[in-house]
């Protein structure tokens, strides 16, 4: 396949039709047609975004409540940049502090060694004292070497924490939903047993789950650990509970609607149950399964913000909540900025899932 075909295929599979006219233009295809494509996928969206920004800055000038103004696009952008520079500043300070601590540790170790050498020469009470001194120095050196910067999480840290939480919840949800969905799809009896549970729990809001999830987690772990704090677990499990359902329902649909012709092939070949599952049923239902996982991840990301707010998990939700408590113009600009960041990350996650779904739906990739 030549580069043009490969590039076009890439556009199709990644769900990025925006790149298609550019590829065709470079390949030297009909220019007018491509410019029309660029106008459609680039120019018109840019104009629409511009109109939106104009409307936003216009209304920012007129919306005032409790002497706090709605932040305009410019304030929002400036404040966003400040958040990022604050992050890098913080990281720089932390790194410097860590470096200083490392040097201090080396110094302390050298002193300890000197003290030990002196102790080898001396004897009696003097020796005891020097050895004790060396031990204290070593202890201090160890703690200095293990120094962890304990500054409060910056905006970027919170983004990463949010991503970790949503991944945690989503992976657990997938691990639970896919096997159950496959069982439901293969056995109408099992499906009949599970359906009422699915139907009842599917529409439940994350905020209703959250207290129960907290209770269960508290009962299972005593105080949490350094790697899995209670707040993180609570948020993650809430995300999991809400993003189970789309994957579960779609997997069931995918497995139960495998093309009869494929099943006939399996019957003629007399495939065993497991072979049928892994060679026919699962590959055939992957596109629908991934479509479900895509919805799940979207729901999970949406739920996460609310869960973070309530569970006080240091992610984007908590950031928005804390800034809301500050209640000044800067904090509202920060909230507006984080809204855009949340949207962009959601878009990115969605694209990833589209890409993965298109990878497994042969001959029939879809842009959205």
């Amino acid at each position: 396949m030549n580069w043009r075909g490969a590039a076009l295929r890439f556009c199709k599979v990644t769900g990025l039709p925006i790149l298609e006219p550019f590829v065709r233009l470079i390949a030297g295809e009909d220019r007018n047609e491509q410019f029309k494509g660029i106008a459609k996928f680039v120019l018109v969206p840019v104009v629409a975004v511009g109109l939106f920004l104009g409307f936003w800055s216009f209304s920012a000038r007129h919306v005032v409540a409790n002497s706090v103004k709605l932040p305009g696009p410019k304030d929002t952008f400036t404040e966003g940049m400040r958040l990022f520079s604050a992050h890098f500043e913080q990281k720089r300070i932390d790194a410097q502090k860590t470096r200083e601590k490392k040097i201090e540790a080396l110094q302390l170790m050298q002193n300890a060694k000197k003290s030990e050498q002196a102790a080898a020469a001396a004897d009696g009470a003097e020796k005891e004292k020097l050895l004790a001194n060396a031990a204290t120095l070593k202890k201090r050196a160890l703690s200095a070497a293990n120094y962890q910067a304990s500054s409060s999480p910056t905006f970027v840290d919170q983004i990463f924490n949010s991503l970790q939480t949503v991944t945690f919840g989503f992976v657990i949800a997938t691990l639970i939903a896919v096997p159950i969905g496959v069982l439901c799809g293969m056995s109408p009896w099992f499906n009949a047993a599970i359906t009422p549970l699915i139907q009842v729990f599917k529409p439940v809001s994350p905020l209703a789950w959250l207290p129960l999830a907290t209770l269960v987690i508290l009962s299972m772990s005593s105080g949490g650990s350094q790697w899995l704090p209670i707040a993180f677990l609570t948020s993650g499990i809430t995300v999991c509970l809400c993003s189970l359902w789309p994957t579960l329902v779609n997997t069931t649909l995918g497995v139960s609607s495998v093309d009869k012709d494929y099943m006939n092939v399996a019957k003629v070949l007399k495939l065993s149950w497991t072979q049928q599952l892994f060679k026919i049923v699962l590959p055939a239902s992957l596109p629908l399964m991934f479509a479900g996982m895509r919805i799940s991840l979207g729901v999970g990301w949406m739920v996460l913000i609310a869960a973070d707010m309530l569970a006080q998990n240091p992610g984007l939700g908590k950031f928005v909540w804390d800034e809301y408590q500050n209640n000044n113009e800067i904090s509202f600009a920060r909230i507006a900025f984080s809204v855009i960041v949340i949207g962009l990350i959601g878009l990115f996650l969605d694209r990833i899932m589209i890409f993965m779904r298109n990878l497994v739906s042969f001959g029939n990739p879809q842009a959205a």
């Binding site: 093309d259 012709d261 494929y262 006939n264 092939v265 019957k267 003629v268 070949l269 007399k270 495939l271 072979q275 060679k279 026919i280 590959p283 055939a284 992957l286 497994v360 042969f362 001959g363 029939n364």
Partner: protein
């Protein structure tokens, strides 16, 4: 009703005698779907012997139950009454001894050409070594002329190529009987004609017992030793068999001028058209059982009243 079967030409060429012993016998098979009022009897009292080494074609109109018959033979469906016997054993389920080529290819879209063929080879020849199986797959890919496309997936192939893969997949299982369920009817006329010759060529090499189900009389005559028409359903049954007395190897273009071929084509076509007409007449007769009595009325005047006419 007289049927144009009688004036079919007598055989002039010596026929390659298919061995008389039947490989598969269909005995009094009936099949229907649904229950009660919605019950639809598709096949009724089908009797047929498929002899070892012969190429038999079943020709019928679409909707006459041809696919149901293949499914019964393949073991994907069980008959309501009667039985299908192969090698003195009643067929109860699908088996690798009866390879089936489906009308809509049924290729697995996530596997490449090689993967699709290897799936059945790996399953049927489990006891072979990996290398033996791979060579076997290659052999059949080559046989259908797809060596250049082994890495492609079905959606990157044309209809004709897909059906070749499907054919190779089934042939590679080395079945005792090959069931072809309208294998070419989804293809355009030109591809179809190419594929017919290909199937003919492969069959001449392998000389496998083969049952072709088709709606194309020319195709049946070109490929088969014997043609059995399927009378239109509901309650479809088989008509009298026509023996195809044409020498092999057959050449499609030459056959177009062969008197024997023309006569046979007319005979089969006339028979099918006649039975369909008869079944339609019968249906009309049965639905006329309680005709609606129309009132005997005469309009008083065909002219509209003057006032409303404008």
């Amino acid at each position: 009703m007289s049927i144009a079967v009688l004036d079919r030409p007598r055989p002039k060429v010596a026929v390659r005698a298919a061995s008389p012993e039947p490989l598969i016998s269909i005995r009094g098979v009936s099949k229907g779907y649904g229950i009660g009022m919605t019950r639809n009897e598709v096949l009724s009292n089908i009797n047929l012997n498929l002899r070892k080494g012969e190429f038999l074609a079943i020709v019928g109109f679409s909707g006459s139950g041809k696919t149901t018959l293949t499914k019964l033979l393949a073991g994907l469906e069980t008959p309501d009454s009667g039985e299908i016997v192969m090698d003195n054993k009643v067929i109860t389920g699908p088996s690798q001894e009866r390879g089936i080529v489906f009308q809509n290819y049924s290729l697995l879209p996530w596997l490449t050409v090689r993967g699709n063929i290897a799936l059945s080879v790996d399953r049927v020849f489990r006891h072979w070594t990996r290398a033996e199986r791979r060579d076997h797959v290659e052999k059949f890919v080559e046989m259908v002329g797809l060596s250049h496309a082994v890495h492609r997936r079905p959606h990157e192939l044309s209809g004709g190529m897909r059906q070749r893969v499907s054919l190779a997949r089934t042939l590679a299982m080395k079945p005792n009987v090959l069931l072809l369920d309208e294998p070419l009817s989804a293809l355009d006329a030109l591809t179809r004609s190419v594929m017919q010759e290909e199937i003919l060529k492969i069959w001449e090499e392998e000389r496998q017992t083969c049952l072709l189900i088709t709606n194309d009389v020319d195709e049946a005559i070109l490929l088969a030793d014997r043609i059995v028409p399927l009378n239109p359903g509901p309650k479809a049954s088989l008509g009298p068999a026509f023996t195809v007395d044409l020498e092999r190897p057959r050449d499609k273009t030459a056959l177009n001028h062969n008197e024997n071929f023309k006569g046979l084509r007319n005979a089969v076509t006339n028979y099918l058209v006649a039975v369909r007409q008869k079944s339609r007449d019968d249906e009309a007769m049965s639905s006329e059982a309680s005709p609606i009595e129309l009132p005997d009325l005469q309009p008083r005047s065909l002219r509209l009243p003057r006032g409303r006419a404008g």
